[in-house]
Symmetry: C2
Subunit: 573 residues, 2 copies
């Protein structure tokens, strides 16, 4: 592409409305232009990137045996009533009334439409398994659309739906899609993790989310350095540490007049935070439905995980205890609480790590005091329950027994679900099995946020000068920058020749023949994130060389023509 014939429109101003890096850089680079809240036009530059993602997704889906279809964006209400989702889906469903007063929606997802398609198309086990996918525009009427295309209302999505006679076969295709997603994100050059997930609103029985790792990600992910284990921090299991050490200290009361949290107590005593225990006072219900006071104990450097806690008996709807309830049961104010000698009987729930501690520090149930050298079985009874009730942290052993957990932040860009028979049953999809009996197929569904990947990739790949695209997603892999093309025919010709050589070598190259001064031209190319830059100048030509610089390199190098081609062609493969 000759950039003089293209429409490139960068901006030096940092847009005030953009809250995150990718939104800022996409606006500055001129990749998108806002039309209305959560609605964006993809400029020529932005669309080049979007199409590269789309193509990678399509080719890998095809290679995995999925078959492309194209369903309408507009969907009739009747189908959504069959599954009960017309009401249940909530405010994100954009409802539309046509000229005949019939109700439709702008599809936020296509389970209903594909299941309707399937019940018309599929009648025999011989047609199964089959996996239909589309790459199509969807709409979710977000309450607060923001972050540009990261959380837009209209967006481009790849959604796939598979149909199977048996659960085993669904499991096989689920694994196939899981592997395919890995190939897609690897091919795009993104650091990512497949994360165990709850199934959420769509329903079903097994699910992984695919996250692009980025510091700005909304979700914290615990992942192993020794396996492909990854899970949302809130879902990752925190294993029991080794056996408890023997008691080594005497129980003693320490004066902590103003020290109301573990950090302050540890600092005062000159001990590690991991030697302290945090006591969280909560109210659950006992076996008969009456309120029950409980203490949830986690190590001072850990955080209580509400989801895990709420899965314990009687705690499904637990709440924090009031100061009055605390005073009644423990006889002290928050900040000085602990499991030793409460006023009234208390249910004690110890995190696995706490149960393994010896010589620890807890509140003394007396204002202004803590207890140190506390030991289970000697100073207090063993806990009523030992359970995993904390968030996993970096350094924890991986739950699969392989390696150690790290914590990263991620942006969800893909999701694979085992839907089971929920939609097939609701919509009466059935096929004849190999014995001639009607069978309800099991379904899987597999989504990728195509437009979201563009923003997520930027969150992972940028610096102060702009975007630093992975090779496979860049609008162009390489740009040939011409210094002063209008006044120097030899330079213009040399640049044109090099550009043509790159095209012939299969490199998606651009020729920046716009005639900008070098500073502005280089700033543009760094902002839009072209991986390889070659400068053709009079001085360079005289020396028989071109100035080459990779977007992530700190320095430029002078290379001859063959070296430039080798460098770019090699990287572009």
């Amino acid at each position: 592409m000759r950039l003089s014939q293209f429409h490139l429109h960068t901006s030096k101003e940092t847009p005030a409305e953009a809250e995150i890096v990718s939104h800022k850089l996409m606006l500055k680079a001129g990749m998108i232009r806002k039309l209305a809240a959560g609605l964006y036009t993809w400029s020529p530059l932005g669309l080049r990137v979007l199409r590269k993602v789309e193509r990678a997704v399509r080719e890998e889906m095809n290679a995995a045996g999925a078959i492309e279809v194209l369903m309408p964006a507009v969907q009739p209400k009747e189908l959504w009533e069959e599954t009960g989702r017309w009401e249940k889906f909530g405010g994100q469903l954009l409802k539309i009334k046509d000229r005949k007063e019939a109700w439709y929606c702008f599809g936020p997802t296509h389970e209903e439409v594909i299941t309707d398609f399937a019940r018309n198309e599929l009648s025999s086990y011989k047609q199964l398994p089959v996996n239909f996918y589309q790459i199509q525009t969807k709409f979710r009427d977000e309450i607060r659309p923001r972050f540009g295309v990261m959380r837009a209302r209209e967006f481009l999505m790849k959604d796939a739906y598979s149909f199977h006679v048996t659960d085993e076969d669904l499991g096989r295709e689920y694994r196939n899609m899981y592997d395919t997603y890995g190939r897609i994100f690897t091919r795009l050059g993104l650091k990512f993790r497949a994360v165990f997930a709850d199934t959420g609103a769509i329903g079903g029985s097994a699910s992984h989310e695919f996250h692009v790792l980025a510091d700005s990600g909304e979700d914290a992910i615990a992942f192993s350095d020794g396996s492909d284990y990854a899970a949302n921090v809130e879902l990752a299991e925190a294993l029991a540490p080794g056996a408890r050490a023997a008691a080594g200290e005497e129980l003693r009361k320490v004066d902590t007049p103003t020290q109301k949290n573990c950090e302050d107590v540890a600092a005062l005593l000159g001990i590690g935070l991991a030697r302290t225990v945090k006591s969280v006072a909560i109210i659950g219900s006992d076996g008969e439905g009456k309120p029950q006071f409980a203490l949830a104990l986690v190590r001072g450097d850990h955080v209580v995980n509400e989801i895990k806690l709420s899965k314990l008996a009687g705690l499904a709807e637990y709440r924090l205890a009031t100061e009055a309830e605390i005073l009644e049961h423990l006889g002290a104010q928050p900040g000085f609480l602990g499991p030793v000698k409460p006023l009234k009987p208390v249910r004690v729930i110890a995190d696995r790590s706490v149960a393994a501690m010896a010589d620890f520090v807890v509140g003394a149930n007396e204002n202004g005091y803590h207890l140190a050298g506390v030991n289970w079985g000697r100073d207090l009874a063993e806990a009523d329950e030992v359970a995993d009730i904390r968030n996993a942290v970096a350094g924890d052993p991986s739950p699969d027994g392989k390696g150690t957990l790290g914590i990263a932040r991620g942006i969800e860009v893909g999701h694979v679900f085992q839907l089971g028979r929920k939609y097939a049953e609701a919509m009466k999809l059935s096929v004849l099995d190999d014995s001639g009996k009607a069978a309800t197929p099991a379904m899987g569904c597999y989504g990728i946020g195509v437009s979201r990947i563009v923003a997520a990739a930027i969150e992972q790949n940028f610096d102060e000068a702009g975007i630093a695209w992975p090779e496979a997603m860049a609008p162009w892999q390489a740009v040939v920058c011409v210094i002063n093309p209008k006044n120097d025919a030899a330079v213009a010709q040399a640049a044109q020749d090099l550009y043509q050589d790159l095209l012939k070598a299969g490199v998606d190259a651009a020729l920046d023949d716009r005639g900008l001064r070098p500073g502005a031209m280089f700033a543009d190319m760094e902002l839009i994130g072209v991986p390889h830059r070659v400068v053709v100048s009079e001085r360079g030509l005289a020396a028989g060389s071109f100035e080459y610089r990779h977007r992530r390199a700190s320095e430029a190098e002078n290379l001859d023509r063959a070296a430039v081609l080798a460098r770019i062609g090699g990287a572009a493969q």
Copy 2:
């Protein structure tokens, strides 16, 4: 593509709801599946064809210098109010209210959005000319959606919009797009015509429609056999014939008791229909706004063109005269009317052809009688006006002076407009010109109905067995059919080898390894319209040959491997 791994789903039944051939065949072939009124899912088979059209359009648009963008489907009301189209567009505009009670529409076209994009993106003449296009899903809420994807509500369209400092430059790009459209339809292998058109609702100053020719087309097109002239029959100028011949007959009254139309009179008199004149009694208004009785005269074998007639003075809102008005002015009943000796003064408007007639036949203004041997200037005064007031017919001279007109029916699949400054002015788009002054750009817009082309192509290319795709649009160019693959490994292997050879030769080939019996397999391939079919059978292999048949050929031929490859590879280029 191995068809055992594909989802092909043909049907033997002719769908009752389909009124036209393309709709029937697309349903039978399983290319589309109806979701709701005017909403269709494209099956894997249908999508293959749609994508081939899309690709041809994209590649030719890119080659013509247009730049692809992607605009949202959902558009805010505010933009449509700037151009006044929120109200004016009418019921086809699907209006949508979001969760915040703000109004949007599902875009039926994108003039407003692109002009808004342009006023943000374009500020200098240096950025012009520029032509932005997209291939995107649109929605028009048709009162009566029908004919499958031919008149669907949701459809795929290529829309392009160009911006120019001068009208001359708009004219240049208009010609560029006109030529590009020609290349697109030629590449797709379609017979088509570019037709002069009125600009209709979108507004502007020059316009051509592109029609795929098909007997079932909604529009009649007059086209020259000696040039690229083509126009809607209603718009095509009917030229004046040669000079009037001298009178050769005496005026005489003929007895036509029951002959109330030209056909019957001509039959009774044993003369050609072209010797008779039809008199249509209408009411227009005179120069002062009063009703004026007029006779519009066309040759018996011609048809009055209401559009042309209404362009004459006082006839903008003309209507047919009532029997009472006719009796008052002419003294006779319809069927016996004519311009000779009316009871009251009558405005006589003669079509050019009528003005050139001698010795013609008209009604006598006396019930049961006609006049024969009528001549202008002798039996009645010359007409008050001579004008082109009829539809062009086959055999007319072409208005551009080159060749003779034929009439064909067409399906509109593309449209190029010179919009001028209508949208730019309404939405305050301006750029600085080369003298630093604000200038309002001229705009062009250029549409192609991508999904409609698929149906139109079928209307042009089918037979009793099914679709007969042009090479460039076929789901596959060639299919290798295997007889009895499960029981004959040698046949299966030979078919696989030939299939691979075709792929290597760049042919988009399919391998029909579904194991159907030959009749069903061949019927499927004829129905879905694959151009080249090669059958691999035990008998053929024994003779060292394959049975080759082109979809349009009446007979199969036995060819060796090299001949098969040469035949298909050659045609596929």
